[in-house]
Symmetry: C2
């Protein structure tokens, strides 16, 4: 068990940028270094060597004796037991990279590796919107819909670290094609790109009023951010698009509630930006598609950590 004096080295490996930080058990980030991933020009080993060097610098700053371990948050698929990363979508060149052993050798500290959605679930649980719960679910709601499950006080991994793929449950049989290759996944109905597609393809009136204007008049440049902004301004078309996505999201969350009976569902990105404009249709669908007895114990709230989420995700791996 970590004490108040202990600190953790957090490593966040992303497709665009990477960061190394020192955080304490209260979720305060004390030191931080970052760099572009530049996966096109650097091998995974070169990236890992650079991150290990930054880690050594930070460890020297705080003193090695206070660092209890290293947490690595990264896109999956990956193996939390071996600490090997298997070519996540945002790092396609990282084929079987032994992240854990590379860092353990370089830093001489124990290393835990976790996929970013699970790690963020832990961070929201320990430091954010999930504090005090024993059963909670975190869901990203951005480019994709991922998730992490805390059940009866523990992060759930499943057989081969694929538990929590909450965006790839089937909501609509024979529905729109998902990026994963299946049809009718929640992600194909309520993620950022699916909201954009929904706005582009919609035959509802009023798209030209605000949404198309915000996109510079180009239908293909409509983003989820434009739709959220227009909805905040009171635009009916944008609101209708969000309500449709929110209803599907609510059906997916209702399924999760029926299966796992969480006391809190924490939603990232779009839910943070749009607030009740998307949360209300979500809650309405949950009340329709989940049992009252289960729904009434479960609050559905936006994520609380904002920009701190990625650093704290890596830190939180040592606070389970």
């Amino acid at each position: 068990m970590a004490t108040e004096q202990d600190v953790i080295l957090g490593v966040d490996i992303g497709g665009t940028k990477c960061a190394v930080c020192i955080g304490n058990t209260r979720g305060e980030v004390l030191h931080r270094l970052s760099e572009p991933t530049d996966g096109a020009n650097r091998s995974p080993e070169a990236v890992m060597n650079s991150l290990a060097d930054k880690g050594k610098t930070l460890i020297a700053t705080v003193g090695a004796a206070s660092v209890i371990g290293v947490g690595v948050s990264c896109g999956g698929p990956l193996d939390t037991t071996t600490g090997i990363i298997y070519a996540p979508p945002n790092l396609p060149e990282w084929k079987a990279v032994p992240v854990r052993s590379l860092l353990e050798d370089a830093l001489q500290l124990p290393v835990r590796v976790e996929n970013d959605a699970n790690a963020t679930a832990l961070a929201e649980w320990k430091f954010g919107a999930g504090i005090g719960t024993q059963n909670m679910v975190f869901m990203t709601m951005g480019t994709g819909i991922g998730g992490g499950i805390i059940a009866d006080g523990r992060l759930i991994h499943g057989r081969n670290d694929l538990a929590g793929e909450l965006g790839h449950q089937t909501i609509l049989i024979d529905g729109p094609l998902c990026g994963c290759g299946k049809r009718g996944c929640l992600e194909a109905l309520a993620s950022g790109p699916s909201i954009e597609r929904s706005a582009r393809e919609s035959d509802l009136p009023g798209r030209e009023k605000r949404v198309l204007h915000l996109a510079g008049g180009d239908l293909n440049k409509i983003t989820a951010a434009h739709i959220v902004q227009a909805a905040i301004e009171g635009d009916d078309f944008a609101n209708a698009i969000l309500q449709r996505a929110g209803r599907y999201m609510g059906i997916g969350i209702a399924n999760i509630i029926q299966m796992l009976n969480p006391e809190r569902v924490i939603l990232g990105t779009i839910a943070v930006h749009a607030g009740d404009l998307i949360l209300e249709p979500i809650r309405k669908a949950v009340s329709e598609f989940a049992w009252k007895r289960s729904a009434e114990v479960c609050s559905i709230v936006p994520a609380a950590l904002g920009d701190r989420a990625q650093d704290l995700a890596a830190i939180a791996l040592w606070l389970q």
Copy 2:
């Protein structure tokens, strides 16, 4: 932790009959007494008193010192912390019956209470088709579709003991009305009664060949057992009905696999009787609706405990 010499008093409370048994840690039932529940003529207290008396008899037979505890398996909703049962569908008169405290007072032994689907999941895990797994899901497939989840080596309860309601995820938005009041639940598409309704309402040819014959010529007397029997005999109509139900069941199981990444899904009742006639369409749908990486580590098998399941469910509560 239970030892080889320890025994457990198991109490199974059902809508039709109740049983009290002594079982050991290897899943052998050593002694057993049963009685009709007779809930129409007996109060919950009268039933509990009678079961406590039977329990005392069995405890005297084996010697009180060897009994480590009492396990009670019963329909939910119930509260596993307080041990209170809240009017399960099969015992509607049992409104807030404090089963645990009644039995603890009468037997002077610690009592654990669990809903029957969760308890059966534990029994299949310890003694049946789930032996050796760390992530498995048990699903009933009879009058209703219930379930129990073992995730990373532990039974999952959720916030208020409602985790595992796997039959009440939404498979078909605006689908057929479910017994629970929602629409399009898995239970409304793949349970025994829904298979019967599907056979009654189907416009597929050939119903008269075997299915209607087995039902004595009365459309309203078709049962799931008739359909399974006809399918075993090679009847095309019955097989088409099972394939339809199996496809929906497979979609529901695919959703579970995406969320929980189990290594085994264990199916009761209809899957036990129909075997591959329903398991094959289920597996086919799973391969279509779940990711290859998740599906390929998960076997879908019939339950193994048969008539022993209910006794062992109560026993297994002390082997977690």
